[in-house]
Subunit: 478 residues, 2 copies
Amino acid sequence: MAKEKKVEQITDMDVDFAQWFTDVVTKAELIDYSGVKGFFILRPYAYAIWENIQGILDNRFKELGHENVSMPVLIPESLLQKEKDHVEGFAPEVAWVTHGGSEELAERLCVRPTSETLFCDHWSHVLRSWRDLPMLYNQWCSVLRWEKTTRPFLRGREFHWQEGHTLHATKEEAELETQQMLNVYADFCENSLAMPVIKGQKTEKEKFAGAVSTYTVECMMHDKKALQGGTSHYFGDGFARAFDIQFTDRDNKLCYPHQTSWGMSTRIIGGLIMTHGDNSGLVLPPKIAPVQVMVIPIAMHKEGVLEKADALTARLKAGGLRVRIDKSEQSPGWKFAEHEMKGIPLRIELGPKDIENGQCVAVRRDNGEKITVGLSELEMKIPELLDAVQQGLYDKAKKNLTDNTRPALSLDEARGIISGKGGFVKTMWCGSLECEMKMKEDAGVSSRCIPFEQEHIGHSCIACGKPAEKMVIWGVAY
Amino acid sequence: MAKEKKVEQITDMDVDFAQWFTDVVTKAELIDYSGVKGFFILRPYAYAIWENIQGILDNRFKELGHENVSMPVLIPESLLQKEKDHVEGFAPEVAWVTHGGSEELAERLCVRPTSETLFCDHWSHVLRSWRDLPMLYNQWCSVLRWEKTTRPFLRGREFHWQEGHTLHATKEEAELETQQMLNVYADFCENSLAMPVIKGQKTEKEKFAGAVSTYTVECMMHDKKALQGGTSHYFGDGFARAFDIQFTDRDNKLCYPHQTSWGMSTRIIGGLIMTHGDNSGLVLPPKIAPVQVMVIPIAMHKEGVLEKADALTARLKAGGLRVRIDKSEQSPGWKFAEHEMKGIPLRIELGPKDIENGQCVAVRRDNGEKITVGLSELEMKIPELLDAVQQGLYDKAKKNLTDNTRPALSLDEARGIISGKGGFVKTMWCGSLECEMKMKEDAGVSSRCIPFEQEHIGHSCIACGKPAEKMVIWGVAY
């Protein structure tokens, strides 16, 4: 006989959000700690979420003409150093391979922190003419950055991501690509992950090492801190010049192409957890959940219950839903708690009484609502309920973002908001690094982005008082 | 106006097979050489083949209950050393990370050459009871092995693969899993890649470092050399004991679980090229080809041709085929050569005369046969032709394997076959390492496997003459 398993307890999210996060990622069986600091094992449930993310993004990338490739995992030091700004940004935080087998290497090799230099080196071999452009490449891989403080999903020394790298004949085409891919990320966050975003441009201080401009989608977590969801960079022809990548145009003239890169990582899973999770554990949007519906037979040893529960499961599967049935020898109460911890969007309870009445009971993970569903209308109602969960999660997160983004006209006001209610502040900014640093020192916030949707909340910079035309969103960031 | 591009020439495969291979992988745009010896760039066309391989295998693994996970890319030296035989096999050929950022690491970390030790470390954290078993895991990743001589696909310092790792309550279950996964590889090679295999067990000398037994599917290339297609290992409880992985069984007794691992790598793409390729380039089996049908409009500036060719392409796409149309400004002759180089299984030519006659001309890549197909029966005939190409490739490869596997009763005879016609020899063998080494020294062959399908071609060991019950297949291997 199976012993009743203990229902795992997690820390209250409003008491200690960081500990709540750690509890959720371990108790929901998303990660395990490896023997090396900052390297996390993605267990089957986490990897299944990542595979769903990959599936949706990869399809979208391919629809837009991108092709996947694989670049080496190691970069020679001399190659990393070819673009000055880029190496300054990355060299301090890479891992170095110095020995192969028993021999010391003539040149040390870093484990890739990002692959711009590898793509550029390849392009310098293969690009010939305008007919070869655009080159629209993407790579799914893991990268290493030797961070000091690490946390599962949010800051690892190794993380998984996709890195898109494209090459174009003109500045205009490259800039369009940069915007297009930012929009892919924004749509994906909002429509698949139910995470509302603010789209905008990064300041000079916050942009990617080596980029002309960096665009971002910024999200707000439950604790009102910011998380960068995905970024898209326009490089101009800086890398092309550094790596001597040229093509002959239609007039047979040698030109430098224009370049972009864009990426989204497993960090977004951390964002997903911190956006939707609650004190019962993980909450997953149906579009990304590995299991959308968990069927739980009640009094399952009573005659006919398991048979009917199996039939119900089969019907939902046939309808294209990701459904499982839990027939383990645990109590229904234990199962409810377990599948709540795992964030499964909908559970369906089916017992002898329900069968008698030709119905089942669906319970929404997002708000706990119980809905009686006639068995005859299962195929119509369950997808509707999943849509409602998806929308409910988005609406709640959107309200959190809207309610907690406040304008500030002075440093005092900004400081008051940040140290009080928290969240984002939006202010006018003159564009100087000095004033950006002042916001960090005085209010403890970094610039998240210069949103595309600008508001004219004032005329002068919050820090120096000089005329300012740009509105910036500031916040405390993960 | 576009200039006519030059049709690329490749070395004759019967003159210099190694150079032919190098020509094909570069001219068919499969790989590019990176700046680090032994690290190859998989260009879009090669990666698309790998994605098709991944898609078929991954589905099959999941149907059989396996789940994907992600383990770290780095392994601490102390962890690699926990299983004695394993570390002896791998330590001489790993790459070592010694610095992270600007600091020297207290313990050096190797870039994974394989992940048994990581899976074992994880299992020692999470395995509790018989209810947790079996654990059926798989990982898609790249691994590093610091080889001295390297060749694209066949021997790289980095290569992509999948590595399955499973844990079972009993020896019997683990052995069944080992056999099951070997059969998955055999089915995949034969049915998807059109590569006939010999299934069998590796000798003690050739088995995986740390395994109790290793099983293999062995293939024969066009030059009659052997290539190992995939391997499946049974570990017993050796790793479990070394890593202290235990579970409580139904009687609440602590037990060591039994373990397997199994892998197939991008090496199989090298095998695919060397099995089916010819002097016009790559030849891909339809089931794995990124593009199954290339439509080439003839006299495409004549009225109506492009329109009809587009319609034909759309019809085949709607039928679920992977079809492209080549509308570039090159001559049909150039296009024929280009798509032959890429190994596209079927090309369809459509010109004004064909349109007049309500037909098109399909040309098989495997044998050059031209088939006139009525446009009205397109959806029926083209899939049939693709099946015929798939079968044709398999039959040709099977004939090569059968015709070139010869029995030998003496070392002289074996040496004569190997230095003459080449291919595999099958002989009786007493089971001793000494006799296995003698075959290497005297005939220049290694044991490929002890086939499951045994034949009694004699009674005594080919090398020592002592009584022998096992038949072994020997060959020169990649």
